[in-house]
Symmetry: C2
Subunit: 346 residues, 2 copies
Amino acid sequence: SRSLNLAVIPGDGIGQEVVAEGLKVLSAVLPQDVKLETKEYDFGARRYHATGETLTDADLEALQQHDAILLGAIGDPSVPSGVLERGFLLKLRFAFDHHVNLRPSKLLPGVATPLAGQPEIDFVVVREGTEGPYTGNGGTIRKGTPHEVATEVSVNTAYGVERVVRDAFARAQARPRKKLTLVHKNNVLTFAGHLWTDIFNKVAEEYPEVTTEYIHVDAATIFLVTQPERFDVIVTDNLFGDIITDLAAAVSGGIGVAASGNINPSGDFPSMFEPVHGSAPDIAGQGKADPTATVLSVALLLRHLGYEAEAARIEEAVAADLGERGGLPARSTAQIGDALAGRVAG
Amino acid sequence: SRSLNLAVIPGDGIGQEVVAEGLKVLSAVLPQDVKLETKEYDFGARRYHATGETLTDADLEALQQHDAILLGAIGDPSVPSGVLERGFLLKLRFAFDHHVNLRPSKLLPGVATPLAGQPEIDFVVVREGTEGPYTGNGGTIRKGTPHEVATEVSVNTAYGVERVVRDAFARAQARPRKKLTLVHKNNVLTFAGHLWTDIFNKVAEEYPEVTTEYIHVDAATIFLVTQPERFDVIVTDNLFGDIITDLAAAVSGGIGVAASGNINPSGDFPSMFEPVHGSAPDIAGQGKADPTATVLSVALLLRHLGYEAEAARIEEAVAADLGERGGLPARSTAQIGDALAGRVAG
Ligand SMILES: CC(C)[C@H](C(=O)O)[C@@H](O)C(=O)O
Ligand SMILES: CC(C)[C@H](C(=O)O)[C@@H](O)C(=O)O
């Protein structure tokens, strides 16, 4: 019999609530013969205040024993900006070499978008997850004086760029439209830009069926609101990916439904799945959070572990649920979770 | 009698066409007693191919003699990416210390936006223009090999950040809503982020009437499409400003109407005014380009030089013209220029 050994990190704010619903749906969708084991880990603001710890070596070792990680949200206004982001979220992505940060955007029928005319949106962003301006390289001199200088170094390696570009080409090849867009700013960030562009063009030769294009990140934000249908797969750098996936989430139904996977395709370390949204402390504990993004992250998790049919069942359930929402009275976090669990159990 | 001694850089592609209309409107709006002198400069792809030059020391000396610079667009697919951007546009911004990159966004009545529900949009982005990831710091080792490493260094100084933050506070103070938003990514880019945040908070103490807020750049892209009315003045770093002003242009009428000023408030060097759009080689020479963004850039130029009434007349003419466009047959570049010149001559 099979088993799924999951690390669960509810985290801060609404993280607790949405993860509970994600697990509800996971239990409902898993085949009978799969033994689901979950272990909950305490990370985030509470633990930081209690112990000063964000993510220790022992934590990493424990997490490493799992098949995958499900994360709710990390972050609280009581913790200085950057402490949990660098000390937990990014530390984990870097430690487990999560170089493929996968963020699908699909505008489902019946879902509200801020864009006029209900455009067709169905693309996936492959965001690099371990390099670029996220490496924490840089520093400050003469801090707090009128002569302070602060630097941030974007580090880009052929090794790091090529593996994520290859992953994106393979994903584009597997989709009906077979189109891949490189988003960068190679006219200004010429060092990193040339590296990305050269590798992109080189790998493209191995994928003659994939249509390729290059778009500057500034222009990409325009197309995301004026012609989102032009995108199929996008591959981009860590920071540009951070920015355009929030915009992509906004135009394709809001961050209430945006899922993501921090994936290490080698399997050397467990991959982590999390909603794109944050901990939303303003609505935490009120049963108001939409668990859909977490539930869709569970679908990504299942697909990553080979449970394709179950992943698809969750996505169909979400599409059906969202399609029926319009006009209905607002439901609680648990009510949405129950509805989705009911559908996938079907 | 007064004089206005203008350097004119039509540049590439549609630059030629839109600048001609900008000058038409400028001539029409200027008071009789102002002697307008213009000198045209040849920069861009043609000159680069002919001479290998993008912007020489002698060019800079010549440009420096003018009161201001009007630029159409620079860039052509025949020139490798980065050559004209770094060799001309950025070189000029850096040489003339254009640290205030001013980009207003106003959705005028009757103008189409990709957003549903015709939201109220009226804000201005103060983008830092001489620092950040635009400095060209960085480099490449082992180029073209599997071991290539390319870096880009974002350089941020207290001097550079404080002057642009001060400029933004002064602008916010002068507007009815008196609100200033700092956009950065201080939870990840902690070195630069702390510098920006600390200086922002320090200068805020001198402007008790200005309401302040901080938003991460990724979240800012969400608000730009879901709640653009929340913004009044935004101050941000060079790269974040590049990205969010293209998005801002897209939601507030398109880059056909987005104007910008590369301003050196000290007056030590001439400031440069240019449409946000590029050279659009695909439609160049066909009389299809909308000169409105250039005409609005002329208004920013006039305001910078103290011609407030004339700047306002141009902006009113553009608002009136755009308000009447809906349903009208498409007009040529020159027809739009003629219409605007006619209105401001009034
Ligand atoms: C919280 C922050 C560190 C994170 C990021 O910038 O990657 C978030 O914005 C995201 O997109 O997952
Ligand atoms: C062409 C390019 C160098 C420029 C920039 O990145 O600043 C442009 O995108 C702009 O916004 O003016």
